[in-house]
Symmetry: D2
Subunit: 333 residues, 4 copies
Amino acid sequence: MRFFSDNAASVHPRLLEALAQANGQDTAYDGDALSAQLNDAFSDLFEIKVEALWVATGTAANSLALAAMCQPHQGVICHKEAHIEQDEAGAPGFFTGGAKLMLLDGAGAKLSAASVEAHCAAIRDDVHQVQPAAVSITNTSEYGMVYHPDEVAGLAEVCKARGLGLHMDGARFANAVATLGCSPAELTWKAGVDALSFGFVKNGGMSAEALVFFDRTLAADTHYRRKRAGHLQSKGRFLAAQILAMLENDLWLDNARAANAGAQIIAKAAHDRLLYPVEANEIFIKLSADEAAQLRATGFDFYDWGEGQARLVTSWNQSAGDVRPLAEAIAAL
Amino acid sequence: MRFFSDNAASVHPRLLEALAQANGQDTAYDGDALSAQLNDAFSDLFEIKVEALWVATGTAANSLALAAMCQPHQGVICHKEAHIEQDEAGAPGFFTGGAKLMLLDGAGAKLSAASVEAHCAAIRDDVHQVQPAAVSITNTSEYGMVYHPDEVAGLAEVCKARGLGLHMDGARFANAVATLGCSPAELTWKAGVDALSFGFVKNGGMSAEALVFFDRTLAADTHYRRKRAGHLQSKGRFLAAQILAMLENDLWLDNARAANAGAQIIAKAAHDRLLYPVEANEIFIKLSADEAAQLRATGFDFYDWGEGQARLVTSWNQSAGDVRPLAEAIAAL
Amino acid sequence: MRFFSDNAASVHPRLLEALAQANGQDTAYDGDALSAQLNDAFSDLFEIKVEALWVATGTAANSLALAAMCQPHQGVICHKEAHIEQDEAGAPGFFTGGAKLMLLDGAGAKLSAASVEAHCAAIRDDVHQVQPAAVSITNTSEYGMVYHPDEVAGLAEVCKARGLGLHMDGARFANAVATLGCSPAELTWKAGVDALSFGFVKNGGMSAEALVFFDRTLAADTHYRRKRAGHLQSKGRFLAAQILAMLENDLWLDNARAANAGAQIIAKAAHDRLLYPVEANEIFIKLSADEAAQLRATGFDFYDWGEGQARLVTSWNQSAGDVRPLAEAIAAL
Amino acid sequence: MRFFSDNAASVHPRLLEALAQANGQDTAYDGDALSAQLNDAFSDLFEIKVEALWVATGTAANSLALAAMCQPHQGVICHKEAHIEQDEAGAPGFFTGGAKLMLLDGAGAKLSAASVEAHCAAIRDDVHQVQPAAVSITNTSEYGMVYHPDEVAGLAEVCKARGLGLHMDGARFANAVATLGCSPAELTWKAGVDALSFGFVKNGGMSAEALVFFDRTLAADTHYRRKRAGHLQSKGRFLAAQILAMLENDLWLDNARAANAGAQIIAKAAHDRLLYPVEANEIFIKLSADEAAQLRATGFDFYDWGEGQARLVTSWNQSAGDVRPLAEAIAAL
């Protein structure tokens, strides 16, 4: 059983059905009937008028959001372990035309309002220093921890005071909402978020993520930038179909709850090994090389995470029955 | 019946089946078993060892190819009606970091060796002028005409003499091969092509194109650039699956032949209206506004193409029976 | 005697004196007392509050102006013979992050309101095509012709209607003003120009040009971009000193008048050879290879300009006596 | 008396003389007789064939060097206090097309071979992570400390093993050579440096720095990039003249020795306040706000450097007599 990454999991069958249903003839790019439903579907979900664009990857969604907020000579504040800094091959630098990621520390890969404010305050207001234009946070964070709405609101307050945009990388936004039990609105625009990369691929999707603009003035140029980056697929209806299937009857939330539930089973079994509280579907644990080998010998796969540590990720399609053997194996170490 | 664009056509059912079959668990990005087959599959097809990368769009394929050949301070020679110039929102400028497209004229949107040589010869060899680094041709061209292998070879000779890379935008490569009856090898590396954007989406595909490097030294950096552009999808197996299904039993060639055959039916009926010889699946005809209105009233859709002209495109899924009513309607005008 | 380029001419002695006088200790970059005078000096000259930045080259001035007006995914309309297109090594593409130069034709390297309007009208308003954001004209043009204030105003009207910025490359702005006898204001902001690259180096300067913003909202970011491009010199007082010396007692205008007067002497002698009306300090003439050789043998240097043509440029430091021998030699051919 | 920055100091009179002497007519750009001497002059100085380009600023020199070594999708390792990171407004990101600065720690703003090796070793060799392509060190460092030739060689060894270019930001290279008493060759190519930004402006120059390539294969494209960045001045002879005057009779070394000597006078007086050893012309000291105010009241100017700290910089034109009053004032605090 693989606990490498929710990226490796299968696609929810309802999405494959949606692809089949979308397979009539329709206008190319995003001129089709399904793409035309996206804005309304997300506006309903977020209880406010938003503008939403499909893209194939979270990297594209994140970078397009940042490019909309940040000129090439400006900067984006993020955590030093942020996905945009660590795992996207410099994509933000590409899409923004060379803007700088400004790296902050913080427990659990989370930024705090205080650290952002301190960072901004230390920058001289002259042309020799890159000035920040945006803050990007990841919710669920890279260490599987969630930002609560009030934490987001605290960050947004700093952003507002300093004229910075606020972006949320929500590759695992669904898992955060599932954990918090709040509404999507409460965790985003009501807390001051301007743009959200709403991830579906790690949550049972195939090849469609959504970039949701709460500040809709940021969206107009993004349509051009999406095309210019080669991300306006000519049969866009198949991306829209996936997303609409995910939103229908809150499939996205069901999937996230399932993944989170699996993580809790492991977390309990590994409670004395946890490196971070388990708040979503990622579990980071202390695990010696011997122990790791032992688990692998029993058929479990996962990432080493530095020396003596491991990362386990549960997925939407793993039932309690699927996960329990790993939990027991860890408990038995 | 729609003759707008082959982009609007449906996806071949075998690809949907391939997606379903690919829906197990596998390693993310391009670490999966299907992606691992791409190089071999294309090497077989092209009768030489190539390196192939999946991407979601032709725009991405084209731009990644050009970025591999051209530094930011250099230029790419192409036709002034080339897709990369007219319809990709400046993507080559984005991916290359600002390289310049150098626009040449030529009948049927085709470049000639002579015009490329003349253009190069007129550029002063000093730092004030942008120096070309690559030539990009579209085969089938934007006006539905094909480059024959010897025409490509003529261009390649100029390229070689001047140290330029040669890229082929093959959004409708399949249609060109179907028309010419040559081997894919003859139309590409044997004629001197370094990189090919091998299109599938206009030919019954959903969301996967292939960027094929005959000059494999160009491929290494492209893996980084693909990721950096947000084009390394995390469930890449679903792109590989589409492409492999297309290659299996030459489905790509069957589809192109079907589309081309439809075009010939219309071409015959419209023989006295043709603006260009019909060599693939696009037909450009003289058509007055009244005549266009008349056709549309009968249920046919297509693009106006400047005043008094129209573009009709046939697709893989249109049978002779589907196309004949349009042919008859045109003949009856 | 050299008639290659006004770039090759010497520096006016008053500028060298100004450098010597500036050689005390002062704050670095543009924090010095001389740089602080620039805005006022240009505001006086242009009879309106402007913001002016020194830079070392016209290429930098032009590109910074365009970057202020044009996002990376947009375009700049200019003449196909424009300096920014032909002679700046792709600098606009670099500074704008890959924006596209949209090349128009026009006699004497001049754009017309009609051609700009026609170009804009032909661009589809969709994301596949690059949308223009600015127009750049060169006054004096690359063929030594001037735009009159009403021509500029006509272009500005199109720009305003379509939301485009209007930039004037004034590498030889002084020569145009000298010819027209209008005020600097009449030829720029009163006619609708948003930003001017005000050239001094071709006009007796050493290493300082001015970028003058009439639309001052464009200036703020430009300070950052200038630094980011390595153009904020640490001893900026020496650039400011040159410019202030040029503005003092209209030295810039005297120099331009001298150069223009020399050109008229040649123009008269070569009146039956002229390719363009001589309206500033450049003379383009028909000249066979034999004739060119004959002139060179007599000690005159100049550029060939395509086959059977030559370009002669007069400079601020050439007196009538300096120029007359060339005029006579041409008349005697 | 100002101890703000060596940027604020005056220009050495011999350079003004050189400008006057250069003021004949000559070919534009770098086609003049003086620019033609640069390669030989630097080759003599460095005892090996080099290629050297003048530019107006250290920022341009640094960024052009890095762009020659580093593709847009790669990274440059430098100290987190490096000038290229802290004070150049993101210029490296601009010139490289978005490459990433990878920031390391280290006493005195110096990198060590061990820290560079450790950083490289921690980067996964996959496309998700930016791969380093170059290391940039500053000698004299941002805290006024010098790298010895063997330290440079140690870094170069890591670079060589990992295929990285090695750039030296030598804004105060002269001061380092003056301190070390080694030859310029020993501190650069003999120790493995590929490119040097050789600073003159902080050392009595006006507006010319040199970018010296020991790895001459890096130079060819840089000529294009310099032009494209607007840094190819049309009267380049005036930059060459400054540099040649600096090299003549080792004026650059005399100037640096003078500045260093002044720093030693202050260093002795402030020996119990020093934050870093004084190895060149910058002195960083502990200084309370009251003490700073006291010094300023006596007529001394300098930068505060964080709380309770100050930076003092001596210049080429400050004699022992100029500096002693400050030394005495500090001793008397």
